[in-house]
């Protein structure tokens, strides 16, 4: 009877010890996992900050480039950019009808044959397809530059047909 009791005590001790040992092990892995996840989250945060830093550097670089370009323009023109933009806006603030009449008048005056015209008053877009002799190309380019229509051009196609040039001109108005 005494021997059995001693054995029972030993089994109980082993069971309690095993239980405590298992609990400690589970706790240990739980803590290990918890802190490693936390560390990984921090590393991820650092990585995101690094990415943001790179993006900010790129933005600062482009802003510096813009500042440099603006100061170069102002230096070369002797005018402030605001003034240039104001003047340009005044000159190029051409409405739909004025633009349409300007191009039509030029085409009729120079006798350049109109192939197709299409006007989209809602979107304020105009398309002119016309032909002109190859020798008139300079005249046409001068007209585009001097009238400021080049700044309203959204698309431009030119094809050579025999001695003539077929031009498709897409313009955007205010």
């Amino acid at each position: 009877m005494g021997h059995n009791q001693t054995l029972n005590k030993i089994y109980l001790k082993i069971a309690v010890f095993t239980l405590i040992f298992l609990l400690i092990t589970v706790g240990y892995f739980f803590i290990l996992n918890f802190y490693s996840q936390k560390t990984l989250a921090k590393i991820n945060e650092i990585n995101n900050l690094k990415e943001k830093l790179i993006q900010n550097q790129a933005t600062i670089e482009s802003q510096n480039k813009i500042k440099k370009i603006v100061s170069l323009i102002e230096q070369k023109t002797g005018k402030e950019l605001k003034t240039i933009l104001f003047e340009a806006n005044q000159k190029l603030d051409r409405d739909f009808e004025t633009t349409k009449n300007l191009v039509n008048e030029k085409l009729q005056k120079e006798n350049w044959s109109i192939q197709t015209t299409s006007f989209n008053q809602q979107e304020k877009k105009l398309t002119f397809i016309f032909q002109l002799p190859e020798s008139d190309l300079e005249k046409f380019s001068n007209f585009m530059i001097e009238s400021g229509l080049i700044w309203q051009t959204i698309n431009f196609k030119i094809d050579k047909i025999n001695n003539n040039l077929n031009i498709e001109l897409n313009l955007q108005t205010k």
């Binding site: 790179i54 670089e61 440099k68 370009i69 070369k76 023109t77 530059i145 080049i150």
Partner: protein
């Protein structure tokens, strides 16, 4: 009794070694993951500007020809 104690000691030591091994494996795995995240290459973002420095002269010339300047 001595044999039982020895067996328990061996089991205990084996479990401790197993736990240590698992810990090392787990840590190595997490360090690998952390390393991968930390040294992940970032694509340098490039912001393209509508005009470049080399185009300024041409634009000014065009503005002058258009009598805007």
């Amino acid at each position: 009794m001595k044999k039982a104690k020895l067996a328990i000691m061996i089991i205990y030591i084996s479990v401790v070694i197993l736990i240590n091994g698992l810990t090392i494996f787990f840590l190595a795995q997490k360090i690998g993951q952390g390393n991968e995240i930390y040294f992940k290459q970032h694509q340098p973002t490039e912001i393209k500007l509508p005009i470049e420095e080399k185009d300024i002269d041409q634009i000014i010339e065009l503005l002058r020809a258009s009598k805007i300047l």
